[in-house]
Symmetry: C2
DNA sequence: TCGTAACTGCAATATGTTTGCAGAAGCCAC
DNA sequence: GTGGCTTCTGCAAACATATTGCAGTTACGA
């Protein structure tokens, strides 16, 4: 486990167990991905098969509470986790293929100011749902074909 | 049921059952709210207690498929439904009190263009997570109190 | 009014997440 | 190191949300 997370856990009086270390390591080495609790558990179990899913849930809850891990909203089906980055980013989700892309926080400065100005709202993160480039071209090709053969 | 939804259902060969009518009416008269399937079911059952939750789920699925109802993502806990408006809007969710506010689609034109330009992404809807005005002032008052009595 | 295909209610099931509890183990004091 | 105390884990059961199979009901065109 990286110095940072280790220190945080121990300084706050939490025990440094192998399970917690492994969950953290999985998230750290998959930086940029978005893993469900079950994904994390599967990766941990690849090395230590006896580790239990409920322990993974409890560990994720702990790490989220300590702001070491971020729980992101990519849809209503389940929860996804990733390490909390110094520079936050936002998510762009394709409703057709499910692909998730990132968007830098800088890009949303004007949107942040808008929300703050209009609603007095302090934006922490944003998720955009729509159709990605790839799926858009696929749809367009389909339309063209359809027009070609009415 | 309003002419529009009625026509759509019947023209497409779906049967116009009381259950479907009631689900639609509940959503229509709570315009602006965000109801879960269970919420809808409870409101329908207030008048017709025998109506089953699974029927509500099937009806919502149908109406969403016909684009008469929109399924919105306000977090990963469950799914919420509202009537599909002519002019779409976006959602602003407070992570502390859970309040949901609306944001007009117009406000996000530049954001939409940004996503299109940077990622080739066609944005359909956006959800912003953060802290609302009310909770922000509550937090600030708490801080002030804390500073006053260290 | 009748017949049929579509729809509903019910119960069972699937999937994701939480919890109670007994046993295991991290960590501090010695 | 060793002991002891408290936290943590594994397991199984519970819980919440959503889906499905099936038998009986019903909308609706003929």
């Amino acid at each position: 486990m990286t110095h940072h997370a280790t220190r945080t856990l121990q300084e706050l009086g939490y025990r440094l167990t192998p399970q917690r270390t492994m969950v953290w390591e999985v998230l750290r080495r998959t930086r940029g991905a978005h893993l469900s609790a079950e994904d994390v558990c599967a990766q941990v179990q690849a090395d230590f098969p006896h580790v239990n899913l409920s322990t993974v849930y409890r560990t994720l809850e702990l790490l989220v509470g300590l702001k070491l891990v971020r729980e992101t909203c990519l849809g209503s089906d389940r929860r996804y986790y990733e390490v909390e980055e110094e520079v936050p980013h936002h998510h762009v989700v394709c409703g057709l293929c499910g692909k998730v892309e990132h968007l830098s926080d800088d890009s949303l400065q004007t949107t942040r100011h808008l929300l703050n100005h209009v609603l007095g709202f302090e934006m922490r993160e944003a998720t955009f749902f729509g159709v990605c480039r790839t799926c858009l071209s696929a749809v367009n090709e389909g339309e063209e074909e359809h027009h070609a053969h009415p």
